[in-house]
Each structure stands twice: as C-alpha cells, then as structure tokens.
Symmetry: C2
DNA sequence: TTTGAAATTGAAAATCAATTTCATTTTAAG
DNA sequence: CTTAAAATGAAATTGATTTTCAATTTCAAA
C-alpha cells in the first residue's frame, strides 16, 4: 500500500506522519489524475473541512519531492498533480475542446529523443512531450468552443 | 522587412502604429531569442527609458497574437518570448546547467507524433516537445550547480 | 490642415496563484 | 511522561501578470 511506503519515506527523511498527510495522500490517489490544487483541496475539505489549503499545498509538494506525485503544467498554464504510476515514463495527449488528458507511452519516441539529443551533443535527463488537438469525440462534433492550450 | 508587415497587420486589425510598438519590435527581433519580459524591457528601456513596462508587455502580447512572436514556458516556469522564425515548427533542447536553449527540427518526430495521435483518435493542432539535460560543454565539466528544469 | 473619435500609453492599482510567516498544536524519540 | 522538533492553518507576503484610468497620440474624414 502506498500509505505505508509514504510513512516509511517520511520517517527516513525525519518527517512526521500526521492524520492530515495520510488523508491527503488517500484522497489524492483515489481521485482522477491531473487535478489542480483547488480541486484536490475541495475533495479534502469535503472529507475533513478542518484541513487547510496550505497543508494540502505543502503535502502535494512533499509527495512530489518523495516521488508519489508529479507536477504538470500544460499549455493552459494551470498547475496539476498526477499520481506517479509504477510503470515507465509517459507523455500526454490533451484535448483542446473538452480538456480530456490521455497518457501514452511510446518507445520509438524515447529512442528518437535520444538520437536527437546525441546529434546535438546533449545528455538528456528528462523530457516533456505534449500533443494538443481534438479527441475522437470532439473531432466528430465540429463546434469550436476551445479550452486550454 | 518585419516592421512593415507589422504595420500592415496592425492596420488590418484596426490598430494603430506607434513609435513604441515599432521600437519594441525592432529591439525584440534584434536580440537573442528566448528572453523574458524583464530582459526585453531592460533593452527597450536602455534605448528609450520613456517606454513603460506595461507597453512592452502589451506589445509582446500583440506580437504573439499577430504571429510575430511565440510565448514559451519551459520547465523552470519562466515565460519567454522568441521571434517566430520563417521555417518549420521547431522544438527545444534545454541545458539544465548553463540554461542554453537550442532549437531543433526533426521530421521523424513530427511523423511519429501523427502516428501516436492517430492511434488514440486525436486530431493534432500543435505540440510541445522539450528535452532537458546537459549540453556538450556542461556534460564535460561535471559540476552540478543546476538551474531551471 | 484641422478635427475628434478611438486607440494607446504609462503609472499605479488589482488580481491571483504560489509561498512564507508565525502562534499554536501535534508527533514521536528518549 | 517530557519535550524538542515538526506540522498545522489562518493570515500575510510575494511576484508575475493583467487591468484601470487619466492623459496623450494616431489617423480617417472633413
């Protein structure tokens, strides 16, 4: 379970386990990925209105530092958090109409990146790749109320 | 010349040509790409201290809307502007040590993106791709004072 | 060339998310 | 238990971006 890994990691860092941190992790992991702080706070507050926004902010920052969460900023400028999945690195497809965010993995992309980096003498640590457009459903409807991006 | 294209476009939009706008475009085009507002304003102010920060801000926004500039936000969160180059779309390699930003084009990348998008039923309008690591010079030195990213 | 409505400018103020402060409370090691 | 260190939460601060507004400038029409 993630919550015990979280406790272990906190202990290792000389940090303390608190009810608030446990609740925030719990809620964060059990809700859809790619939410902003306000959304996460709203969920937390619904469960426990005593927990402050600041604590949610600090806990998400901590989760990010300890590798349980990743902070994402897509082209709309909002800061979102997603639980870090077990598997490999992934990138994102983002629908400009409905806001849907889809994660994908692609080995060819990874190797192509390495080839490009080598060509320019770079030693790559990480990357960011986002594809913006219309998802299948939104491409069908041809209305054009765009969001984000 | 870009400045006359700029005038034409402004006229088309019912906007007015001003000394300030002309100077800002001039300075923007004649300095290195990928600068933030503060840096651009500093250059403008050196040429003409009467021009206000707000005007530089608004003009860069206008240049972006009219397609003369592109706004970029890399992983360090800073907002930068680059002149929009004639040629094809390009992506970025960013050095985490010295901050160097290199533009690159790669057709394979473009076609791979389309393949990925198709696989997920997306219709792609634009994308963002950034590779973060050490440039050749910084990879040689092995010091580790990281910046951005 | 003059006129005047509309647009622009620039300083200051407002906004807004992100972050810090600080008094109080809680945790957990000894 | 004790108690030092850490965490909490409300409020304040920061810093970048954006808006406001009175004064100025542009430019199309007369």
């Amino acid at each position: 379970m993630e919550s015990s890994r979280f406790k272990t990691r906190m202990s290792e860092e000389g940090l303390k386990s608190t009810r608030q941190r446990a609740e925030i992790l719990e809620i964060f992991l059990n809700s859809a990925g790619h939410q902003n702080l306000g959304q996460i706070y709203a969920r937390v507050a619904k469960t426990d209105p005593k927990i402050g926004y600041t604590t949610v902010y600090r806990t998400l920052k901590l989760l990010t530092r300890l590798g349980f969460a990743a902070q994402r900023k897509f082209a709309d400028g909002e800061t979102r958090y997603e639980p870090i999945p077990e598997g490999a690195h992934h990138d994102h497809l983002i629908c400009l109409r409905c806001g849907k965010i889809i994660e994908f993995e692609d080995d060819h992309l990874e190797s192509l990146q390495n080839r490009i980096a080598r060509r320019h003498g770079f030693d790559i640590f990480h990357h960011r790749m986002e594809l913006y457009g219309y998802c299948r459903q939104c491409a069908r409807k041809k209305s054009s109320i765009r969001r984000k991006g």
